[in-house]
Symmetry: C2
Subunit: 427 residues, 2 copies
Amino acid sequence: MSNAPIGIGLLGYGTVGSAVDRLLRARREDVTRVVGAPVAIRRALVRDASAPRAGAPAAGLLTEDFAVIRDDPGIAVVAEVMGGVEPTRTWMLELFAAGKSVVTANKQLLARHGAELFAAAEQHGVQLRFEASVCAAIPVVKVLRESMIASEVTAVLGIVNGTTNFMLTAMAQGADYATVLAEAQRLGYAEADPTEDVTGADAAAKVAILASIAFHTRVTIDDVPHEGIDTLDSVDVAFANDLGYSVKLIGQARRVPAGVVVGVAPTLVPHTHPLSAVAGSFNAVMLRGDAIREVTLVGPGAGGDETASAVIGDLMGVLGTSNSGFLRADGFFRSLPIVPPAEVESPLYLRLDVRDEPGVLAAIATILAEEAVSIDSVVQRAAEGRALLVIVTHPAPEGAARRAIARIAELAFCEGEPVVLRVLPTT
Amino acid sequence: MSNAPIGIGLLGYGTVGSAVDRLLRARREDVTRVVGAPVAIRRALVRDASAPRAGAPAAGLLTEDFAVIRDDPGIAVVAEVMGGVEPTRTWMLELFAAGKSVVTANKQLLARHGAELFAAAEQHGVQLRFEASVCAAIPVVKVLRESMIASEVTAVLGIVNGTTNFMLTAMAQGADYATVLAEAQRLGYAEADPTEDVTGADAAAKVAILASIAFHTRVTIDDVPHEGIDTLDSVDVAFANDLGYSVKLIGQARRVPAGVVVGVAPTLVPHTHPLSAVAGSFNAVMLRGDAIREVTLVGPGAGGDETASAVIGDLMGVLGTSNSGFLRADGFFRSLPIVPPAEVESPLYLRLDVRDEPGVLAAIATILAEEAVSIDSVVQRAAEGRALLVIVTHPAPEGAARRAIARIAELAFCEGEPVVLRVLPTT
């Protein structure tokens, strides 16, 4: 073992960056043994080095000049924990050109500019690792890229946003959306502006990244249709529960003969399904493949130390493989079409507000039959001359189901817009 | 990328060995891209190269001479999938001395001779990887060794034997031990001689390996007290269910101030605990630590392709890190004492067969109080002048609880031996 520490650069010294520094120092002995040499943060880029901050950076650690890190021959690898798209993207490209590998926690950057960044890393013979960009301390990226090489992965699905899972867990107890959002904000689970989380955009970025590495094809966030929980009515959470389902915000990427199916949507998950039991702010990702069958990873999907832990795992991974061709090749060598949502088959949950009169169910059932959507179960609940009618269908192409629903919505006895949610098959 | 394939040797070409060969060929493109060079099995050691076999080995692949593999400069790494302790141990040491890294699926060998083997690998500057030795395709070894470097791991616990979990799942439906064992044997989940599985010895070997890598200290199978399910009565499974628990064969390793607590035992797991829902032959391992909080991995813990998948992940890992010091150091640099079982605190489940007469509960409660074992809940079920009395205690040192139970067993109204099971705390 050499005694000169291997130098690491940090872009950013906020919650995650300072935690990377602190944990690396606290775990010095283990890190040295695993890597085979000591490792130390050499420089950290911040906007204002004189600003008060929570961490305890060593004297001389902070710099306001990106070029100091880029041009330091003593820095072998850089952790990008500053976030944002620019100047982060430009700086990352400059680091690759300078021969430095990069570890990032930046899912929005990868979900938008992954293609360009991975190609640049390969071109310069360096690595881009990104465990912390998806589900923090849950090692789903490493497991997909390194443990499952022998398996043709056919599906990745799960709960990849902790904020909304916390909210849905509370809604399952009967609270309404506005109340649980306020509670999530009070407890720090949701941001003051919760848009990214509640609209499913955050989950869509993670699905884009997971689909890309699982199927070796480029999927960007714009490819991932997403619905959030911001329009979810607690009435449907209660109905779902009576029918034997939890409502979860499910992100999924599936390999089908026609290409890749991706999406994020609030989804009815059978109570017997392992994802149904994932409660609170935890995340869970199921990986399905031929040789591995089904491996599920569950854990905290956010948090400063949890994210820093993933960043450090990646830093060690880069150092451990620094003299080989391992994980150097841009992994996206296929070009698989994204299956249009209208062609994706799924069982659906429909809730209709109808007048309680003879012939209603017959008319609805006729339209569904005409569009070849078959019914799995029906529940009706009366309410002052009207009825809430809930129908769960067998798997049907979403396009056909949407056509049927549009026709049903025009029937005279139908009030308001039908509610449509997806249902996760048991297997 | 070089075009000369990197050579791999196999010791064994049975179910797992032939699956490694088949999967590596089927996944050639992915493997080449991940490793940065093509990879191929060069030689496979078998006892009788002319025997009929299920796989389709290429001409010239099989050899009956170990030295052919050991002395082949074109073989960079060897996968040991033949099992057994000798000659496997001796051959592994010879491979290290020849400068070859080894990947193994052999938990009994590691749990008995790990200390010697890891030291020899470090001495010769090669790697010994062993993902397949614990829970097949569930990547718990890689996650512990590579993803959680930044976290002080404080506990590893879970269901690490699929045969017994399959049997316990069936017993929870009301079947008795003998019936479910016969069923497990008929379906191929249990061996004709099920001793290793049902006595907890298989789980104990896995706990020894997991404890060693989680806490960086040597734990051998002889350090792991284990009880199996072979003495479990379905009456207790039913009682546990009524009290809100599943019975699972839990293996655990916990870091405590006094050292390391390890053990395998049939354990009452609250229905609300994530491990309670793990059904059938699946395995699940929970990893707890400061930075990671709690990460759980669930999946198939056995199977030929599943084990081969883990072996291939390790082979790629060795190749990827072949020119660095990564994972070269013998990781067992601490020497932590194993806490004697009598000092380990756990809540306990006691079932007593007593005469249904006044003063019985008072006498029992008095003895428990004298040994400072406090009672959490009591359930009594009458049966023809006698009563089955079930007591769940608060956490108590096992030594004190065992003293109390021995005294209770001597009471005149107590029939037969009290049944004692551990209870897993909710967190």
